[in-house]
Symmetry: C2
Subunit: 117 residues, 2 copies
DNA sequence: AGCTTATTTGGCTATCTTACCAAATAGCCA
DNA sequence: TGGCTATTTGGTAAGATAGCCAAATAAGCT
């Protein structure tokens, strides 16, 4: 893999990494229903404010959210709603996995090694 | 955030984590053009075989690829092509970010603090 | 069985990530 | 200015991740 190809995939992975954390997925999900301030998100998440703030700054660094200061509060807004489509795919993968597990289960009950009975 | 919500977002994050690595993104990209054996991928990637094998097992664990043994080789195939749609979104985010940087650049040249000139 | 090749697994170290606390910064209001 | 609240930043310790080497496993061939 040459250096340029490497750079492209590293850049893409960097953006995906921003989503690869339960708290940050939760934040994206919440923001998909409208902007929220740090304090609101913090209360919902139940972690330290500094932790939530750092998660938000990771999402911001990846270009997925924008922030807007209003008085004492900072409001975050989802900038790239297309990430929500991705979540549909994730859901599909998960359901797929569950179905596979279910066939394994049926297979072990019937003793059918291919699980196709 | 209650325990069940937590569990859902952790499961989703787990799947996204499987994609959050340049080598694994490269693998997914290659497999989108058809199945490949470990040796082919290893040669393209240029890392140790054991490293590539571990990446593949992570993708397999997430349910994104399937493997098929044929003789001495193991062929991997993309199981959930919808992840490719996601890559389009990633690309969009990246282009967005580049445009933002470009406006910042124009802004600093013109001295326009909003970059809208 | 013994040899060869392809792949996976175990072990180890170096690096990255995350969470919390404490302290700094920013904006409002008296 | 000084106090108050919201948010960010720095520091640090615990845990996760990634890479390589060496060894184990699996399958074909003679």
């Amino acid at each position: 893999m040459d250096t340029q190809t490497q750079a492209i995939f590293e850049a893409r992975a960097g953006i995906i990494k921003a989503l690869a954390h339960p708290t940050r997925l939760f934040i994206v999900d919440e923001l998909s229903r409208g902007e929220k301030c740090v304090c609101e998100l913090t209360e919902m998440i139940g972690a330290d404010v500094s932790t939530v703030s750092k998660h938000l700054s990771i999402l911001k660094g990846a270009g997925m959210v924008t922030d807007r200061k209003q008085g004492l509060n900072v409001f975050y807004e989802l900038k790239t709603p297309c990430v929500l489509n991705f979540l549909d795919c994730i859901q599909a993968v998960m359901e797929n996995n569950m179905q596979d597990q279910a066939s394994l289960f049926r297979c072990s009950l019937s003793g059918n090694p291919r699980g196709d009975g």
